[in-house]
């Protein structure tokens, strides 16, 4: 494995008394597509803007290829960036927009011309070279912005929610484009979004931000299957959180539902001790619902069906636990039980390995 290309080390940023980010550290490999995912105000944009140079951290370092970035002015960092808002220069044609970074670098005309052509071809907008930005749709404008940001072959491309102003269909189209451009150019991308689906679709790895800290870094699959915290579990995918009380000695390895039924899990928060209150995470699609209790399943939980929804490829059930908590269950159409109607009794089963217990 190659050495980290971009290193973010113990970044901290405070405004007056408010801590925007705290001890954010992250190593990014060359060519990686890294996404910062989190709700607004979680510090993901602040971190990106520090890498860009628009903000400076209170503490910490940013190294690119082993050299410190923070002492370099933003216009000398040679980094590409695409913004959330449309930032094409309105008085310049599409071609001149893409040429802008090359012109300020005083490159010869012939070189500028061929590079502009190459970049517009990359984003499939070669025909639009002489149009003005306001004659383009939002999606096209962002594609030109990507071409402009990549025209000077930056080692890193920063993207600050570049698709959030577009409608769903266009957004998905551009996500596919973005994957292609990433593969084609091999540029290292730092991508900020609050949309978990977008993060899963695009990224090699995702850093989940919450309250100014990184909660977990990993591939989408890792985050989904083994979330490190209740926050990650609730932010990526849908989850039910069932209240449990921890039991067992030296650390916790056993939990008890409010109705006294014991339950085990694939992972426990290390900070929890016997007697503490916890939350057992269950993904809706990892639960099986049955009309009869099966003998083998030790984890069967008896519930009452509250609502049944047919969603084409899946069935969605809302069921109530003995302690009157509503949980969501999703099963494939093929494994549905026709007798499960509203008001019916049912039994829930799941693989214990897939369940995880977090602090409540």
């Amino acid at each position: 494995m190659s050495a980290p290309f971009l290193q973010i080390q113990r970044l901290r940023k405070t405004y007056d008394q408010v801590v925007a980010i705290d001890h954010v550290s992250l190593d990014i490999k060359k060519g990686e597509f890294m996404t910062f995912l989190g709700p607004s105000g979680s510090g993901k944009s602040t971190t990106l803007y520090i890498v860009a140079g628009f903000q400076s951290p209170t503490e910490g370092r940013v190294l690119l290829d082993g050299k410190s970035l923070l002492s370099v002015a933003p216009n000398r960092r040679n980094i590409g960036m695409v913004f959330q808002r449309y930032t094409l220069f309105p008085h310049l044609t599409v071609g001149e927009n893409v040429a802008f970074p090359l012109r300020v670098r005083r490159l010869p005309d012939a070189q500028v011309k061929s590079k502009v052509e190459q970049m517009l071809k990359l984003v499939h907008l070669a025909d639009c070279r002489d149009r003005m930005p306001d004659q383009l749709s939002g999606g096209m404008q962002q594609r030109v912005a990507i071409a402009r940001a990549l025209a000077y072959d930056p080692p890193v491309l920063l993207m600050d929610e570049p698709l959030s102003a577009l409608d769903k269909k266009l957004r998905e189209e551009l996500q596919t484009e973005l994957r292609r451009i990433h593969q084609q150019t091999g540029v290292t991308i730092l991508y900020v979004t609050h949309d978990q689906e977008e993060a899963l679709r695009l990224s090699d790895r995702i850093a989940v931000f919450n309250k100014g800290r990184i909660e977990q870094v990993g591939s989408g699959e890792e985050l989904y299957a083994k979330p490190a915290s209740r926050f990650v579990a609730s932010f990526i995918g849908n989850s039910n959180f069932l209240p449990v009380t921890l039991a067992g000695s030296n650390g916790a390895s056993q939990a008890v539902f409010p109705n006294g039924k014991p339950v085990s899990a694939g992972g426990f928060d290390h900070a929890l001790n016997a007697g503490d209150n916890g939350a057992l995470m269950l993904r809706p699609e990892q639960i099986r619902i049955r009309a009869q209790p099966s003998e083998a399943a030790e984890g069967g939980l008896q519930v009452v069906v509250r609502d049944v929804t047919y969603l084409g490829d899946t069935m969605h059930y809302a069921v109530a636990t003995p302690w009157e908590q509503e949980i969501a269950v999703r099963t494939s159409i093929s494994s549905r039980e026709p007798s499960l109607a509203i008001g019916a009794r049912a039994w829930l089963e799941w693989e214990h390995e897939s369940a995880r217990v977090f602090a409540a």
């Binding site: 860009a52 628009f54 933003p74 960036m81 959330q84 802008f100 300020v104």
Partner: protein, 265 residues
Amino acid sequence: MLLDFDRLGPLRWVLLSVGAAVSLFLLLPVLFIVALSFGSSQWLLFPPPGWTLRWYSMLFSDPGWLDSLITSVELGLVVMVLSVVLGLFASLALTRGAFRGRALLKAFFLTPMVLPVVVLAVALYGFFLRIGLTGTLVGFVIGHLIIALPFSIIAISNSLESFDTALEDAALICGASPFEVKWRVTLPAIRLGVFAAAIFSFLASWDEVVVSIFMASPTLQTLPVRIWSTLRQDLTPVIAAASSLLVGLTVILMLLGLVLKRGKS
């Protein structure tokens, strides 16, 4: 909409005639002056018994009138340039600056618009008399600049406020130096505001008469001052010609402003 013009029925004829009457009321004096400037009667008879360009040739052959015309144009151009440059810097500070008392400062910059001009003129006169600036072009420039600057600041501030600073961030990260960012991105993006500032600044000086009367000397007069002082001595159609010239340039500049505005939307 309920109050769309073609839904108003008979009421729209009333509206139409009121509109026409008001327009006529506003335009009539100007039309009169322009008609009289081409009329052949020396006594300003209306309707003119015949048509002539005599008054215009008299205007352009009289060195007194010509001097004041040149003074007006020169003064207008100097005021225009200074007003745009100062207005640009002031507007940048007023829209971008993060300092205490910014709103107060902006209000202060705009006071010349609401202050009675004659008060300003008397104050300037008293001050300039002491330091020997009355009757000089510098005195005129300063006086007119005070009147023109608020127009310039309003026009440029407005376009700066609707300008998204993310464009500057984008230009900066593209590698442009802070100066290049302002010169190649900000300034072109707000150019319509700058043009408007230039037009309004020139016009503010071009038709200014109150401060000018106080600043003028027998050898240094602007066109409006000359019209006013000539009028006090005798009534000649040359005044009508000079006035028409004054109106003509104003209308042309206003139309230019409109065309620029149209180009924007």
